[in-house]
């Protein structure tokens, strides 16, 4: 199943939506985990409300939903280490890198645009 025939493409998962209000963030993460098995060049971009996916201290008991935020910490174990977060999106929301639950690279809009432009496949959530 995970045979890519030696092809290595640059895959980017673009996350622009906050968690819990919709399922996109959770199901995006499920694709990311699967992609690890294919030995592709995978990166994740978090911009706009997508930066909220990574906030520390998520606690979902009251809404009776599954808290999937710990899974972001597991990505490193799958060799998925390119997590890019938009600096402007953090600033607009009064957030800093310290508020995030994983190590990320904070990038400017121009840097994010460069990263997007060099991808082979962009999946948007």
């Amino acid at each position: 199943m995970a045979d890519a025939g030696g092809v290595v493409k640059k895959f980017m998962f673009v996350n622009r939506k906050s968690p819990y209000g919709t399922i996109y963030a959770l199901e995006s993460l499920e694709v990311v985990l699967i992609s690890a098995a294919f030995d592709q060049d995978v990166s994740l971009a978090f911009l706009d409300d997508g930066v909220y996916e990574l906030t520390k201290g998520q606690s979902t008991k009251g809404v009776e939903m599954k808290n999937f935020s710990p899974t972001y910490r597991a990505l490193e174990g799958y060799d998925i280490e390119k997590l890019y977060v938009a600096q402007e999106s953090l600033e607009e929301r009064g957030l800093s890198e310290d508020d995030l639950l994983v190590d990320v690279q904070v990038v400017s809009r121009a840097e994010m645009a460069d990263l997007m432009a060099e991808q082979d496949v962009v999946l948007s959530f």
């Binding site: 906050s18 209000g21 706009d48 201290g57 998520q58 008991k61 009251g62 809404v63 009064g94």
Partner: protein
Amino acid sequence: MLHTVNKSPFERNTLKSCLAHVKPGSAVLLIEDGVYAALAGTVASDMVQQAMAEVSVYALGPDLDARGVANRVIDGVKVIDYAGFVDLVIEHPSTQSWL
């Protein structure tokens, strides 16, 4: 009248449209992704703080908790639970959901 808003103020025009139609003395309850509007220090905070001069603003606590932002709420925004949501609906003769 009770107005509920369930959309992020950064993503949609929903809260802005709601606040343009609330009358003094009415209440606005932020739920689901709408609770991001209840937070201090964002580019949407001013809009909410200005509205608080004329209307009461509430935020649903379980939604703040889920999103890990309960400790960032603007002073004066009242955090309530689902029981409080029910009370608000009862207190006001009608409810409008801004979707």
